[in-house]
Amino acid sequence: MTIRSYMAARDREWPGGRWVMAAFLAALAAAPLVLPEFHVTLLNYIGLSALVALGLVLLTGVGGLTSFGQAAFVGLGAYTSAVLTTTYGQSPWLALGVGLVLTLAVAVVLGSVTLRLSGHYLPLGTMAWGISLYFLFGNLEFLGGHSGISSVPPVTLLDFALTDSRHYYYLVWAFVLIALFTTRNLLDSREGRAIRALKGGMVMAEAMGVDTSRARMVIFVLAALQACAAGWLYAHLQRFVNPTPFGLNTGIEYLFMAVVGGAGQVWGALVGAGVITILKQWLQDVLPRLLGSAGNFEIIVFGAMMVLVLHHARDGLWPLLARLVPLRSQPRRIDPTAEPLPRKPRPPHGEVILEARRVTRSFGGLVANKNMDLSVRAGEILALIGPNGAGKSTMFNQLSGVDDPTSGEILFRGRSIAGLGPHRVAAMGISRTFQHVRLLPRMSVLENVAIGAHLRGHKGVLPAAWRLDRAEEARLLREAAVQLERVGLHGLMDEEAGSLALGQQRILEIARALCADPCLLLLDEPAAGLRLKEKQALAELLNRLRAEGMAVLLVEHDMDFVMGLVDRVVVMEFGEKIAEGLPEEVQRNPAVLEAYLGGV
């Protein structure tokens, strides 16, 4: 099936999703007109919490990071606006801008000290920062100390003061909907794929050119900004701020909302905020009467509920709810008329693409590679073989920038790649696959492959959030589809990558690598787990790539596959090169026979 006919099959889509969405929006718009005051107020608070929880969906559910300090960012937004509008008499809108800038600065500082460390430092760092800020709010004179700041002016919209909570409702929910809309858009974009790769796919994403530290920073900052906006809304809804609602417990509560609702999807934030806010209201009413004394006993229930949710429904409530609504995920549209992405100029046939010179890598006393020399030319397939433990993987890691040599150098088209790190190496034109398949199992095959084209797009977070990236996105997806067709997987485009057979997953990795438009392909055991037919198809593909002038280096154990395909072979044993040459020469080399068969 070609892309074009595949598309035709897709156009008969079920339009149910739109109707559900329209019904939701209509209910949201009508709510303040029909509901009593108390419920409108409750919905306002749900909206505020949803805004914060949404940031955590991005951070925790999608990005695999977390923060207990979101309440502090809420406080930052609220206090900035309260001070600027009361003490300095500024407009709330200006104060919102100042608050966002301030939050941005704080988040960048906090992020830059914690995000490069492993995942648990960020939550601990945010916990400490949350407590610090809480004490600062309570102890600084100009912030009103523990009694807070009162008579914060209302927000005015075109000279109309939003003092009625029914009016304010629309402001709150406009913010929530914008945040929902932009977050959803962002996740469905080039940057979004990079963000979704952060959880469980960092090494792969780096190899595809994603700067994962930057992507982590992006989501941390976005989550902080959403929290700050919620704080601003809070200050002008309450018209009063004090430190209490910005403490660590509230920060924990926000995280609970995201997790209970379902941290994986944007709608989870809404469900979680609703459930926790209403439950809290109810428990604060019921528990003290039941237990006969006053106190915030709802935290016992929340704690227990949280443990239960994490034990039994780690994806939260949203997936359970979503099953009740007959919605299907919409398959991705591919525009076959989108302009193809520009390609880098091909290096001429025979040019030395990659050269390793006297590369030595030692781990303490163990020398894994010793004085390794090898080179790969454009339009050539080189196999690196050797018995287990010969040091092939160590060599491969250094060639792909994951690891650096202890001594010696690795040149890519004459430039040294040592110390650059995988994402910069990828940018130079090296693409790779992994020995143990690394893909995002719950993402579609198409999107997995599109990650490979990350460096061929340039639209950032803001254009993605506002859908200004669609032309480029269509080109990226078309490229992914073309590469899938090239490797013969285009029929499986919309499947979850995790549902593919191992052999197909390996082929997917090759399509992903090709998406990057590399001039050097590093393949780590590409034929492992493939059936005979698949191996033949792979060999044919590699032959075609060679004819186009691609340089290919592969590490492989399957000798039938290697000997019938490659131009030259480098044989390693005990970290050193023991032979190099044409396949038939190497097969007769006594040192090689000795290494493989233990003497003849």
């Binding site: 430092y121 004490f135 924990i252 016992i300």
Partner: protein, 348 residues
């Protein structure tokens, strides 16, 4: 500041630092063996201190109800695992679970109702307090963490926070909102050179040192200690050698609860302890543990003393901001650790 105040503050800092050291060591240990960041560590401290206070007041500590309840839940979970789930639990281990989770709390309840609590000597009360609080550790592991023991660090952390929250709430329920202060273990005053050293200060520092030595001996000399160390180095390898991860988890939590409750007993005579005091104290232990990179015991101990000193001196100059200062200390520490780390790794 004259010399007397300086010495006083330093003494205060070192004493608090000794307690943070204990907590930091427990945190590092729990993280190494189970990958759990034990946020509720501080609750063991609060429960320990408040249980002691209730015993001193001569009444039955609410901790008993918590112990009975947690034991019942833990046993019910063991029973459910034994019945369903395909994996059969041999009858003997179910009997052991019943003995620990049901028998022990009931026996303790019987003992507590029979004893003249107010008239007991201090040491007996301390032992009773430990007997009440320490078993909560393994029960907590069984109930909250064992079912998700293989989950990512992030999930375990969120579970830990949830447990912390629930325990604070339960603490409020059983101990009430009022704080308590307990009798010091010693009222004696010693003259060491030009400075006055309180007997309790010496007791705290002595107990901390003794505990550190005991932990060292446990980990270095006993089979169980070695099993825990093996688990910390390589969980799967340890499992293949027959070390049950569930046992390692419960044992680690037993130690953590013991360290926590003991710090509570040492801490409660120095300051008023409330149902929610544990968290802040525990978090200072965290700052210390993070200084040690959540991996090094001596660095964590050094960090703890540093936190104690910073806290006591900043409370002299600017007491309102002492917590701000202590928790902001974490930022330069993280920066330093961040600059020292390189490559992109996959999160577990």
């Amino acid at each position: 500041m004259d010399q007397t105040i300086f010495v006083l503050l330093a003494q205060d800092g070192v004493t608090n630092g000794a307690i943070y050291t204990l907590l930091a060591l427990a945190l590092v240990m729990v993280f190494a063996v189970t990958r759990i960041i034990l946020i509720p560590q501080g609750e063991f401290l609060a429960y320990g201190g408040l249980t002691m206070a209730t015993l001193e007041a001569g009444s039955l500590p609410g901790t008993l109800w918590v112990l009975l309840g947690a034991g019942a839940v833990a046993f019910a979970m063991d029973l459910a695992t034994a019945r369903g789930g395909g994996r059969r639990l041999p009858g003997r281990s179910l009997a052991r679970s019943a003995a620990w989770n049901l028998g022990y709390p009931l026996a303790l309840a019987a003992l507590l109702t029979q004893l003249p609590l107010a008239g007991l000597p201090l040491a007996a009360k301390a032992l009773l307090a430990l007997a009440l609080v320490v078993p909560l550790g393994p029960m907590m592991y069984r109930i909250a963490f064992q079912p998700v023991a293989e989950a990512p660090v992030l999930v375990l952390l969120i579970v830990a926070v949830a447990v912390h929250l629930a325990m604070v709430g339960v603490g409020l329920l059983v101990f009430g909102p009022e704080g308590s202060r307990t009798t010091p273990f010693s009222d004696a005053q010693f003259e060491v050179g030009a400075m006055q050293v309180g007997g309790h200060t010496l007791a705290v520092i002595g107990a901390s040192l003794a505990l550190i030595v005991a932990l060292y001996l446990f980990f270095d000399r006993t089979l169980y200690g070695k099993a825990l160390r093996a688990t910390a180095v390589n969980r799967n390898g340890a499992r293949l050698m027959g070390i049950s991860p569930a046992l390692a988890g419960r044992l680690t939590f037993l130690l953590a609860a013991f360290v926590g409750a003991l710090s509570g007993l040492l801490f409660a005579p120095m300051t008023t302890v409330y149902y929610d005091s544990g968290f802040l104290v525990g978090l200072k232990g965290f700052v210390a543990a993070i200084i040690g990179g959540l991996g090094s015991y001596p660095l964590a101990a050094a960090g703890a003393v540093m936190v104690g000193l910073l806290e006591s001196f900043s409370s002299f100059w600017t007491s309102a901001f002492k917590d701000v200062l202590v928790f902001t200390l974490i930022i330069p520490v993280l920066l330093w650790r961040s600059l020292a780390s390189h490559h992109v790794e996959e999160e577990e």
